[in-house]
């Protein structure tokens, strides 16, 4: 589930208006570098900042949290079955007496790692394949477009679910590869579209006419100019990957025991949600908050990287209010 991707992202330029006489330059010396501008814009977006803190906090918690707890995900407390949260077990216990905090952290670990790896692999693939297809067109391009069309008809969820008996009992890393293998295509299509636009840009033509070979043009001019898109996409992809993983795991088509993920926890406990809500609410809460944080960061990045962002207005109003106060 990808949230809005703004295909019109200006390929990382500082809002050069097309056509018409050229406007005055920022004054030399006072000009902000693009990086600084993006940073300032991002920092201004409170939600995105909160999101970033939440994401970092969750990664930290998933790996450090279990060390601080006296319970482990694979030991049971035989004095506490299905207990709601209390001082001893802050997230309660399940029906065999496992500490829900330890279990949730364990699941969180797996889900977060899977999300990160899938996003990295798929965005890299998308950049390479999309840029190559867009630049060279021809067969590779046709194949890419066709595969994307096919995926529309045959949701990746379905394919991985069908393949799930095959990787049952094998490493969870296979799942990562599967998820990545089906997540790059949509991004690749967007990258392809942007490559087609960039290819017509004069600096790319200039490089071509000075004799720069194609693969160098892609590496030096095309991919770096899509950096903003790729960063946004990688961020959003972490969220999508976590959602895809938990969705599959919910039905038992994803992460397999003895591994646990947020998805297996939610799936296993959804039935008893109305009677023992803590079994469901804690893993589900972590999942929703994490994905929400990722989406906020993605949105904040898009706003920060988008030269036409209009958030300034708000900021200014606030400033004048502060000054008045």
């Amino acid at each position: 589930m990808t949230v809005i991707l703004n295909e019109g992202d200006a390929a990382g330029t500082t809002g050069a208006a097309s056509g018409g006489p050229v406007d005055a330059a920022p004054e030399p010396g006072k000009a902000m570098t693009r990086g600084r501008l993006v940073l300032i814009r991002f920092m201004r977006n409170k939600l995105a900042l909160v999101g970033l803190v939440v994401i970092l906090g969750m990664y930290l918690m998933a790996f450090v949290g279990p060390l601080l707890s006296k319970w482990s995900y694979d030991t049971q407390d035989y004095t506490a079955f299905l207990e709601p949260p209390y001082s001893e077990h802050i997230f309660g216990t399940d029906k065999i007496g496992t500490d829900m905090f330890a279990l949730t952290m364990r699941g969180l670990q797996k889900s977060l790692i899977i999300g990160l790896l899938v996003a990295l692999i798929s965005t890299t693939m998308a950049a390479i394949v999309g840029a190559a297809a867009g630049y060279f067109l021809g067969v590779a391009d046709k194949a890419l477009m066709w595969v994307v069309d096919l995926l529309l008809v045959l949701p990746s969820f379905l394919i991985i679910a069908i393949l799930s008996p095959w990787f049952r009992g094998k490493s969870w890393f296979l799942l990562v590869l599967m998820l990545a293998a089906f997540q790059w295509m949509i991004t690749a299509r967007i990258v392809r579209g942007m490559t087609l636009t960039l290819k017509e840009r004069e600096f790319v033509k200039a490089a071509k006419f000075m004799g720069q070979p194609a693969r160098k043009i892609i590496a030096k001019h095309i991919v770096p100019n899509m950096a903003s898109l790729l960063i946004i996409d990688a961020t959003i992809n972490v969220g999508s990957a976590v959602l895809a993983e938990t969705g599959l795991s919910y039905f038992g088509f994803g992460v397999q025991s003895p591994d646990v993920s947020l998805g297996t926890l939610i799936g296993g406990n959804a039935e008893s949600a109305t009677t023992f809500p803590w079994l469901f609410l804690f893993p589900a809460g972590f999942l929703v908050v994490f994905v929400l944080a990722v989406n906020w960061v993605g949105d904040g990045l898009r706003d920060a990287l988008d030269p036409t962002s209009t958030r300034v207005r708000r900021k200014e109003k606030k400033d004048t209010k502060e000054k008045a106060a």
């Binding site: 949701p155 969820f157 069908i162 799930s164 008996p165 469901f280 929703v288 207005r313």
Partner: protein
């Protein structure tokens, strides 16, 4: 124009066939129904296993199995399940169950999504926009299986506070319900509300985000300014010239949205105990049943492609630039 739509339709039929073939092949290659059978306790006699293998055509190569199955499909026979029940018998009822959920969900989703998106764009950076944005962000970050379970918990809460079971969240009708058609309708509605919400909320969030950004694009356009310069009020210009143009990109999204809906529907059916196509898919994969899986895939493909074709028709109807060629 008609020729264009016809060509697209042919293209889609081919895609549906390819998708089904792929699903069939993958399922045949990974599924091991005999293995499942052998793990039964007590194990079935060798003779019956051999018979099963023959019944399932496991002695034939996969392409041949597909041709055999497809040959049946063309005549309206979708083969038999592993448990040896004809798929065709169940198919009609299950499709009915799923479509009721899908169509209602997508209709509500598009209507309210577009409305919310437009309001959000027009009132950009005002309270209603922030509220709508927050609403859709949270919903887009909440997977259907969490949302469904939460709605279930909420419905339970409402029922408890009223004291009667107003909202029923198990099954699509009360088994053995007696009454006239009006009471039957009421009973169905009681069952329908919560699952439809589970599907529609996500769709509303999805469409509203896209509608918002497409509307924002239009808000800055020259032609809107021209319309105002003619003497239309801003509001009138927005609705007559702006919305009409901003709807064009929504047509293409329709196909994407439907794919999302199918996956969401699977979770919804499982959570609320509706025996539709999604539920069948999970049952089929868990039982490693190729015929069920392929049948559901075919259904999904046809649905997605039909919506894709509908999107083409809509696009042509909305955009005169496409209509010409």
């Amino acid at each position: 124009m008609a020729g264009f739509l016809l060509r697209r339709l042919v293209n889609y039929v081919v895609l549906a066939l390819v998708a089904t073939f792929l699903a069939f092949t993958l399922a045949s290659a990974t599924f091991d129904p005999i293995g499942v059978l052998q793990q039964r306790n007590p194990p079935p006699p060798a003779a019956s296993i051999e018979a099963k293998k023959r019944d399932l055509h496991l002695d034939q190569p996969i392409p041949q199995r597909f041709v055999t199955w497809m040959g049946g499909v063309v005549q309206g026979d979708f083969g038999r399940t592993i448990a040896d029940r004809p798929i065709t018998d169940e198919l009609g009822r299950r499709i009915g169950v799923s479509l009721r959920l899908f169509l209602l969900g997508i209709t509500i989703g598009i209507l309210f999504g577009v409305l919310l998106g437009v309001v959000s764009a027009i009132r950009q950076y005002k309270f209603s926009d922030y509220f709508a944005t927050l609403f859709s962000f949270i919903l887009l970050s909440t997977p259907v299986f969490v949302l469904g379970t939460l709605l279930k918990m909420g419905a339970q809460g409402i029922n408890d506070s009223i004291g009667t079971n107003v909202l029923i969240f198990v099954g699509e009708t009360t088994p053995g319900f007696q009454g006239n058609w009006f009471e039957h309708l009421g009973d169905r509605l009681q069952h329908l509300v919560v699952p439809t919400l589970a599907i529609a909320l996500g769709q509303i969030a999805y469409y509203s985000r896209y509608q918002r950004s497409s509307m924002l694009d239009v808000l800055g356009s020259d032609f809107l300014r021209t319309a105002q310069a003619k003497g239309l009020t801003r509001r009138k210009a927005l609705f007559k010239h702006g919305l009409r143009t901003a709807l064009i990109p929504m047509a293409t999204l329709f196909a994407f949205g439907f794919g999302l809906l199918v996956v969401g529907g699977t979770f919804t059916e499982r959570i609320f105990g509706w025996f539709g196509m999604g539920d069948w898919l999970v049952t089929g994969i868990s039982a490693q049943d190729t015929n069920i899986t392929a049948t559901v895939t075919l259904f999904v493909a046809v649905c997605v492609l039909f919506s894709g074709w509908l999107a083409d028709v809509l696009y042509a109807a909305l955009d005169p630039r496409i209509r010409v060629n």
